[in-house]
Symmetry: C2
Subunit: 370 residues, 2 copies
Amino acid sequence: MAKEFKLPSSLSVFGNEDIAYDFLSRIWGKKGVFTCTIGNTMTSTIPGVSEAGDTPELTLFTPAADAEMLVNGRTTCMKGIPINPGGIPTPATLTMAALELSDMPLHIINGGCRINPYIPYYEVGGRCGEAITSGKSVHNVKECFERGKVLGGMLAKGHDFLVASESCAGGTTTALAVMMAMGVVTENLVSSSSPRNPRELKTRIVNESLNAANIKIGDLRDDPLKAIECVGDPMMPVNVGLIIGAAKHVPVIIGGGTQMAAVIAAVIQIDPSVIGNIVQGTTRWLVKDPNSDICRMIGGISESVPIVYINMDYSKSPYEGLQAYEWGFCKEGVGCGGASISAVISSSGKIDCDIILDKVHEVYKRILNI
Amino acid sequence: MAKEFKLPSSLSVFGNEDIAYDFLSRIWGKKGVFTCTIGNTMTSTIPGVSEAGDTPELTLFTPAADAEMLVNGRTTCMKGIPINPGGIPTPATLTMAALELSDMPLHIINGGCRINPYIPYYEVGGRCGEAITSGKSVHNVKECFERGKVLGGMLAKGHDFLVASESCAGGTTTALAVMMAMGVVTENLVSSSSPRNPRELKTRIVNESLNAANIKIGDLRDDPLKAIECVGDPMMPVNVGLIIGAAKHVPVIIGGGTQMAAVIAAVIQIDPSVIGNIVQGTTRWLVKDPNSDICRMIGGISESVPIVYINMDYSKSPYEGLQAYEWGFCKEGVGCGGASISAVISSSGKIDCDIILDKVHEVYKRILNI
C-alpha cells in the first residue's frame, strides 16, 4: 500500500520516504485529534530573543491568546491578536483555518503558563518556566512528563491519529539549549519567527545557560528530561510524554519546527520504539528558510523521522500581513503545519492548499474585522 | 425507526418512551465520549451528611480518588480505594468495568476540588465549594458555566454522543437545596449512598442553608445559576454548561441520580431546546430505591426527560462488598449507570449485564489484589 501511495501536490516529504509513505497511507482519510501545548518561559522576555509578540512583555500573552483563538475564535486575555513586531499575525490564523476545514477535535494542554487562557484546558501540573540563563528553567518535569504520557494514551482512544503542537514564545532558544545539552546539534541551526534571526544573541544565551547549569555539549545525551529541567521550557516535558503515550497506540504527527525538533530528540532517546509511528509535520516556509536548517537538524537527530510539509504559499495573498510569511516571518507555530497536513490527510486530499488559503483569508478578515 | 427499536433486557426505560426510543435508536452502535466532573463541597464534612468516604474528612478525597481510578486504574491521592463506612467499594468499580468494555474515550473535568487528582484533567476555573449552610457555597459560577459550555461543544466534535457524570461527595444534599430553591421539589425525595438515608439531617441542613441565603422555596425558579451559587456545589455549573454546550450537537446521556436531577432542572430552565436530546442514565438500584424517588423527582422536573437504566444485579456476586449494592449502598455515582448504558448502546446490545458483571469482578479483584 505504502509504495502505491500518491502524494498530493499540497504535501511534500523530506527524509525517509518509506516511513513517510507508510505513515501517510495508514491514516489517509482517517480522523485525528489535534492538541496544542502552551507554555511560558521567562526566556522570551529577554530583549531580542523572541518576536512572537509585539514587545518582550507581550510574548508572555502569546500562548494563551493563541489557545483562545483556536477554541473561541477570538482572544480574551489580551486585546487584538498576537502579532510579530510590524503586525504580522500569529500562525494560529492558519491553524484555525485548517481546523475549521477538517472539523478536527481540539484539546489545549497547559504545560505551564504565566498567563492562563480563559478557555477549558488540560492541566498536567506544569508551571511557568524560568529564564534558561538560570540553569534551572523548568519545574515538575517528571510529573508533567508522566501526566503527558497518560494523556497521550487517553487521547489516542477514539481517534485514528494525534497531532502534537506548541505555542511557547522564546522556544527556539530553549530548543537550541536542550539540543546542545543532548549533543544532537553542536551549532546553531535553529529558526526564528523573524527573518532577522538573532543567532548570535541566541548562541550567547544558550552558552551562558549551559554554563550556569554546568553542562558541556552532549553531557545530557542520555538524560533529556534533565536537559529540559536545566535549560528547556515547560512545553517540552508534556509534549515528550504526550507523544510517547500516544504513539504506542496511534500514528503521531509532531507539528512544529525547531521547538519540536528538541521534543523529537527527547522522545527518541527515551523511547526509540516510537520510530515509524511519528513524523514531523511542518510548513514549506520553515523547510525552505534560508536562516535555519530544519532538515539537517532532524537528520542529525534520526534518519527515521521524516518531515512532511504543507506547500502553503501566501505570495499571492492580497494581505501584506500574510505575504510576510513568504519573507521569512512566523513560518511555523501553533501547529499550523500539522493542522494543515491533517486537513489534507483526513479529507483524502480533497482539501488542498488553495482551499486552505481561501479559509485563511476568511479567518483573517473575521478576526481583524476587515 | 424509533417505533421499531427493541430494547435489550439489560436496559429499562422510565418516563417518556417515545423520546427514549428515538434517542437510543439515534446512537445505537455509535461511539460516545465519557466525562466525569469532580468537585468538593465542604458540606460533605458535616458529620452524618455523606457516606461517600470512610470518614467525613475522607469524603474530600473520594472525587479525586475516583478520577484516578478511572484514568490509571488505581489511586494516588490516598491509600486504597474510596469506600463507604463498612468497606463497600465506590461505584467507580462499575464505571471502570463499563469503560474497559466499551473502550470509550474519557475526560475528567475539575469542577473545583480541595484535593486535586494526580492525573491529567480539564481545568475550567472552579474552586472547592463552601458548606451550603453559609448560603454562599460556589465560587466562579458564571465562569465555570461558560467554560463548561465551550467544553461541551469541543467534546461533541468527533463523537456521536456524550456522557456527563459526577463524583462529588455531599452532592445529594446540595442537589436537594438547589431543587428546593428552584421549587422543582418541595419535599425531600433525594437519595443517599447509604440505606440509612439521613433524611431529617439533610432536610434540616437544606432549610438552614436556604435561610442563610435568604431564599424561600421556589424563589430562584428562573435563576438556577444563582441557586447553585448560594446552595449548590462546584460540580453543578460545569455540568450544566457542558450538557447545554454538547446537546446542541449530539445526544447527551446525563449519568447519575439525584445530583444530576438538580443539574437537569437547571439545564432545562436555562435552555429548554435541549429536550429530546437528553436522557438521564442511571442504575436499577437507584430507580428501585425504597428510600428515594428519582422517578417522581425527574417527572416533577420535566415530562420529556426519560430515565434509561441498566439492570445490573449484584445479588449473585460472590463478593459481599458488591452484594451490598442490593441492600441499598452506593447505588449510583461516578457515572456508573451512564457508562454501563453506553457500553450496551455502543456495542448494539452485544455487551449485556452478565458481561459487565464479569468485568466488574475482574476489576474488583485487580484493585483489591484478591
